[in-house]
Amino acid sequence: MARPCAVVGIGQTLYRRRRGDVSLDGLVREAALAALTDAELTFADVDAVVIGKAPDALEGVIMPELSLCDALGAVGKPIHRVHTAGSVGASTAISAAVLVESGRYDTVLTVAYEKQSEGNATWALSGGRSGGQAAGGTFAPWIREYIRRSGAPEHIGWLVAVKDRLNAVKNPYSHLRIPDITVEKVRESPMLWDPIHFLESCPSSDGAAAMVLAGGERARRSARPAWVLGHAKRTEITTFPGRDTVRPRAGVECAAALYASVGITDPRRQIDAAELYVPFSWYEPMWLEGHLIAEEGEGWKMTDSGATALDGDFPVNCSGGVLSSNPIGASGMIRCLEAANQVRGTAGDYQVDGARVALAHAYGGAAQYFAMWIVGSSLDVLA
């Protein structure tokens, strides 16, 4: 069976609109060194490196593992490169965990990044064509359909935007800092893709995130391990008439497989904190439902009641989430490492008191790629 794998080190860069102070090499190395320092290890201790990012076209460097291997201390070692669209950061973490769980590699450094200022994300997200609808244009009709089905009032999206941005103020790495944000400001901000306002949308960020994953003795000796209790991925094809784009079957089945693998039967009660991939505000209630945390049609009520706030009974995106920092390829890995921060008790001002089980999630493509993991403060926390 799987050898237990733990997150033993976490590193992040400052997320900014433009990190003009570092090269791509400098960006990934900043996160990698921070993770190694946190783990009290050096590059020499690393057996393999797994990197992830969204399309190479975002920076114009093909197969960047080839040029980044020196900066990541990977020369003479295996370096592996994952790409699963927007879910890639979480997929990369999961692939790295598989290296450890296989028993073949003891210590794996995993890094995900994007330097969006080097390119044009809207162009890339439109499949390399100009005049595309980009992500917001793709998701807006599905959000409208969610609102129609659920009867959710229009202020739900505004509440999510305010909550996540106020959480972000507590996170020293956040890109967006809007301490004076209010529901009124969100509502009055420009409409981009009805019903998504400007302040309900994720930014384009530069940044990198890294983790050191370990098995065996190194995991057991770690001062602050976050144990990877389980992970799951599901993918479905892009489009066909029977596909439910609001509640994709791949997302439902991914969550169901994940919960079953770790023995979770009541996710809302058994999970203490969640980092969900919410690039547009309405995806908070949509994923609460689409990942079986709330009944269908009930997710928005969790948001409305304050259940997803930092002091609620199911805190979501305490770090500020994708709405506050979005280096695309890293955004999923940030969800994974923020979940680990919560169960390690290292989340600082946005720590959920007593968090022992945390969920991380990312999605990508046309809401068709899903990658999720659950971390715990001990291996038997769910027993």
Binding site: V61, P78, A124
Partner: protein, 386 residues
């Protein structure tokens, strides 16, 4: 040192489950295929399902390797999942690497123990682009890419360094091409179908392209796909009478800066080979997990399928792997006979596995490469039952 730590990790945990290749498929290497890439993938998937009798939901894990840039379209790989049959939803992943690296991840995934079958796909269509222009963007974007050094130019520098070091001659390069083309003539999947034998002297009469390399020294990019199904031991026995066991996979990278490397050798291949218990350091009967208990020449290898996209690379790889003349190299014709980029490395595994499954070899090494001048290299050690 990385090799030592990986080896010791393996040695301390001897209970790794056996994993086997149970079915293989590949399309011909098309100089230009005008249909969609997803169709090439579907052809392979259909072949695999037919040959194993599996239904799509009988495959636990799916993983593919491809390169968006070949299509000139970010997220090009997303449409490929249609060809892999991702409905109902599947447990799936993707590497922006040759399919051989997807196999590496699938092989590790099956060792975790909770899933038993995996489908691995590699695919690419090079014909829509100018591969040399595209792949020059692999280089370090600050110091190297602005020089316009594409992989073929760097290959020319590497070939020159071999000649300057007295390790090879242009005739040696031509001999690699002649032998590859002769072998490719018998391979229905090959792109370069020589009409009869090609003489070394005739090849040497051709003009230079990237001196000292000539156009025929460079594998022409092709369109194509390849796929395999691998399975854990018990499942493998159910799915085929001739499982081909994966005795180990290891890959290593070298510095991105050509000036920091000894271009006449492959340090990464030597490290990977030592980790697998083959290669000159292992001396045939060495102590690695892949070591052949019978000993014998070149770790008992019968066949080596090598990812040679420039003729001189075969000379470097033979040396780094310690291959003597008893080992048949690229009996398929190798990439010089057909190079569907992003599937080419996985096809090396397929060609080696097919020769073992058909009883023409017992033990083989397959090699895949990424990056200019053999920067990153993967070795897969394969063995038959008997």
């Amino acid at each position: 040192m990385a090799a030592a730590s990986a080896s010791s990790a393996a040695a301390s945990a001897p209970d790794f489950p056996d994993i086997a290749v149970v079915a293989t498929a590949q399309t011909p290497a098309h100089a230009r295929y005008d249909g969609p890439e997803v169709h090439l993938i579907m052809d392979c998937v259909d072949q695999l399902l037919a040959s194993t009798g599996l239904s799509r939901d009988g495959i636990d894990f799916t993983i593919a390797g491809s390169c968006d840039y070949l299509s000139g379209m970010p997220f090009a790989f997303v449409t490929n999942v249609d060809g892999m049959g991702a409905w109902p939803p599947v447990y799936e992943s993707h590497v922006e690497m040759d399919g051989a690296w997807a196999l590496f991840e699938a092989w590790l995934r099956l060792q975790v123990g909770d899933v038993d079958t995996a489908m691995v796909v590699g695919s690419g269509r090079s014909s829509p682009c100018n591969a040399r222009e595209v792949f020059h963007l692999q280089a370090d974007p600050y110091a190297v890419a602005p020089l316009g050094l594409d992989p073929d130019a760097l290959a020319g520098i590497q070939a020159r360094s071999l000649i300057d070091a007295g390790l090879a001659s242009e005739s040696d390069f031509a001999a690699v091409v002649a032998r590859s083309r002769a072998a490719a003539a018998a391979n229905p999947m090959a792109q370069v179908q020589a009409s009869g034998a090609v003489a070394v002297a005739d090849l040497l009469a051709e003009p230079y392209d990237m001196a000292p390399l000539r156009a025929h020294d460079v594998a022409p990019p092709a369109d194509g796909a390849a796929a395999v199904i691998i399975a854990t031991a018990e499942r493998a026995r159910e799915l085929t009478d001739r499982p081909v066991w994966i005795r180990g996979i290891d890959h290593r990278i070298e510095s991105h800066h050509p000036g920091l490397r000894d271009l006449t050798d492959s340090a990464s291949v030597r490290t990977a080979a030592a980790t697998l218990g083959i290669g000159p350091a292992a001396g045939g009967g060495g102590g690695g997990e892949g070591a052949d208990p019978d000993g014998g020449g070149t770790a008992g290898l019968d066949v080596a399928e090598l990812h040679v996209t420039h003729a001189h690379e075969e000379i470097i790889l033979r040396s780094a792997l310690g291959l003597d003349d008893s080992v048949e190299v690229n009996p398929s014709g190798g990439p010089l006979g057909g190079n569907p980029v992003m599937a080419t490395g996985l096809i090396r595994v397929i060609e080696a596995a097919d020769r073992i499954a058909s009883g023409r070899a017992r033990r083989a090494v397959a090699h895949a490469s990424s990056g200019p001048a053999l920067q990153q290299n993967l070795l897969c050690l394969l063995e038959g039952d008997g």
